[in-house]
């Protein structure tokens, strides 16, 4: 713990990452309190203030129907973070379990499982999510489902490669000799050694899930208006470039800042937990 803090302190970039992530999480959690116009989260119109450049009343300007962009970005962070947490909370354990099974048990079960993983990994991630949203209705739940379906194989492959290497280690052999069962060895012996890599990947993946989810809504296949979403905000504003630049630039930068924060933190964790790239 002390060593971790020392590494974190010696690495200003991961500290900045921690700071950014904390700010984003706080901003999302307390959006109803922090947003200057909390009602602008929904389908409200205020044409008197429509399409205004950033000013003292609206720091990031207003959108085409007069909603405060800053307030909407705070609420959009809630959607992005919720989606990220739900997706990873399902994809990581499922992928880990499958990877452990394939890596430790091996044999034909492992071969079949990993070929299935290969199939998922052989379609570009965004394309698979787009295809799924193509047949599903564009709602938040379905977006979560589509991103989860494309995400678990990455964990399966990561854990598989670690489990394969650990299987030959002395402590696993010792456990086997002492008669420990497969579940015990997989979950109590091997899994703890996969955790640093999994935790690091989950931190970095929060950023990637935000990217994929905002990409889906940018294409009109994710969360639907009037729910604020960073991707659909950029898409809406892109038609009004360059005059109404604030419509796209602020939501775009919001994605950049949030993902950059998770990436910096993930990189720092990688060093602290000594995970190979």
């Amino acid at each position: 713990m002390i060593r971790a803090l020392r590494i974190l302190a010696a690495n200003p970039m991961s500290l900045i990452g921690l700071l950014l992530v904390s700010i984003i999480i706080l901003a999302a959690t307390f959006a109803p309190l922090l947003a200057p116009y909390p009602t602008h989260n929904g389908a409200i119109v205020d044409f008197a203030y429509a399409n205004k450049a950033p000013n003292a009343r609206n720091w990031m300007g207003t959108d085409l129907v007069g909603r405060d962009i800053f307030s909407r970005i705070l609420y959009a962070f809630r959607i992005s973070l919720t989606l990220g947490v739900v997706v990873l909370a399902i994809a990581a354990p499922v992928g880990t379990a499958i990877g452990l099974l394939a890596g430790y048990v091996g044999g034909w079960v492992g071969a079949v499982l990993m070929r299935i993983v290969d199939v998922f990994l052989s379609i570009p991630p965004l394309v698979l999510a787009i295809a799924m949203m193509g047949v599903l209705e564009p709602t938040l739940t379905n977006a979560m489902l589509a991103v989860t379906v494309m995400w678990w194989p990455w964990y399966a492959r990561l854990v598989y490669s670690i489990a394969r290497a650990e299987r030959e280690e002395g402590y696993v052999l010792a456990a086997e000799v002492m008669g420990a069962g497969t579940p015990h060895i997989a979950f109590r012996e091997i899994l703890p050694n996969c955790l640093p890599a999994i935790v690091t990947k989950m931190t970095l993946d929060m950023g990637f899930v935000i990217i994929i989810a905002s990409s889906l809504s940018f294409l009109g296949l994710g969360v639907q208006p009037p729910t604020p979403d960073l991707g659909s905000m950029v898409a809406e504003g892109a038609r009004y470039l360059p005059d109404s630049w604030w419509l796209t630039v602020f939501p775009g930068l919001a994605i950049l800042v949030a993902v950059f924060g998770f990436n910096l933190l993930g990189d720092g964790l990688r060093e602290i937990l000594e995970v190979d790239e």
Binding site: S122, I130, F260
Partner: protein, 342 residues
């Protein structure tokens, strides 16, 4: 080189198995659709007889394995069905839109390699010094935003504020180029129209950079990480003891062995670009597969959706085989091995 040929055959075999799996996955996704595909295709005003007729034509009344069999039989004949959106064979539509996307992705891939690898090399050579820190932060920044954000930012900066590049499209409308390959860079040259060729390149640059940015970051990070590991090897120390120039050590001794693991990921990044092209194309009004893909998805045009995903998956598999072959050529252990056990 028998070892390399052996490897090629092996890779083709694995790819074939994966492709069967991909076709099953795509088929499964298409059957997830709630509601009757025939009704969706014909719209709300269709009569029961019309729907029944289309259901028979689409084999919807048979069991799932039989339906899958029909799907595979059609695909292997090169028949992806009729698009409900354009009323044309899906293969024709894809043949029309794919070259524009591939042209963009290929240039973006070249930029990724040409910029990403040297940046990673530079960072590794000056590891833990300021060029390294700078490159690492920049690389992390580029992977921290989706393609459409970079597209919007680049467009704003270099097409609107500094009007260096065109805002949208593939070519200025006044040029009339006969379509031969669909790749405008090739077609303009075939037509002998150098002016049009320059115009096409001019249109390509900004979207290609927007598409390549996150790939550049990935490639630089990976090359750096692999090279830093290689620098710890004793033979580097020996080269240093011999008094070789640091630039020579970086190029000949540290970079080459690090290239091989980097290449695999570069193949994956190329795949990601096929997806991200959807985002960049949307911003730059690029007439590629994206506009078609999104249009058919919004209309729940099943044949076209399945066909598009299948073609992208096949393109990706081909790229990966090419990357594996490049690795085999670069890696003397595979190139010279008698049996090609890799």
């Amino acid at each position: 080189m028998p070892a390399v040929i052996h490897l090629l055959l092996r890779r083709l075999g694995i790819s074939f198995v994966v492709l069967i799996g991909v076709s099953m996955l795509i088929f499964a996704i298409a059957r997830v659709i709630p509601g009757d595909p025939a009704r969706i295709a014909l719209g709300p005003n269709a009569t029961t007889e019309q729907i029944a007729k289309l259901r028979t034509a689409m084999h919807l009344d048979e069991s799932l394995p039989v339906q899958y069999g029909h799907f595979i039989a059609d695909v292997s004949r090169g028949d992806l069905g009729i698009s409900l959106y354009t009323n044309r064979p899906v293969t024709k539509d894809i043949a029309q839109f794919l070259p524009a996307t591939l042209e963009l992705v290929l240039l973006a891939g070249l930029i990724m390699i040409a910029v990403g690898l040297p940046l990673g090399m530079l960072a590794a050579r000056y590891r833990e010094r300021w060029p390294d820190h700078l490159i690492r932060v920049l690389a992390l920044l580029t992977v921290s935003a989706p393609g459409f954000v970079w597209a919007v930012i680049l467009m704003l900066l270099f097409a609107f504020y500094l009007p260096l590049f065109p805002i949208a499209g593939r070519i200025t409308d006044s040029f009339e180029i006969t379509r031969v390959t669909g790749f405008l860079t090739v077609d303009t040259l075939l037509a002998g129209n150098l002016e049009a060729f320059v115009d096409v390149i001019h249109h390509l640059i900004l979207p290609a950079i927007a598409l390549s940015l996150s790939g550049i970051g990935q490639a630089a990070r990976l090359t750096r990480a692999n090279m830093v590991e290689t620098y710890k090897k004793p033979y580097i120390e020996m080269a240093q003891a011999y008094g070789f120039f640091p630039s020579k050590i970086a190029r000949s001794y540290a970079f080459k062995p690090s290239l091989i693991p980097s290449l695999t990921i570069i193949g994956l990044d190329f795949a990601a670009m096929l997806g991200n092209a959807f985002l960049v194309e949307a911003v730059f009004a690029w007439p590629g597969l994206s506009r078609y893909g999104v249009a058919v998805i919004l209309r729940k045009d099943l044949n076209a959706i399945m066909g598009t995903v299948l073609i992208i998956a096949i393109t990706f598999l081909i790229v990966n085989i090419i990357v594996d072959m490049m690795i085999a050529f670069l890696n003397p252990r595979i190139r010279h091995s008698a049996r090609g056990s890799a």
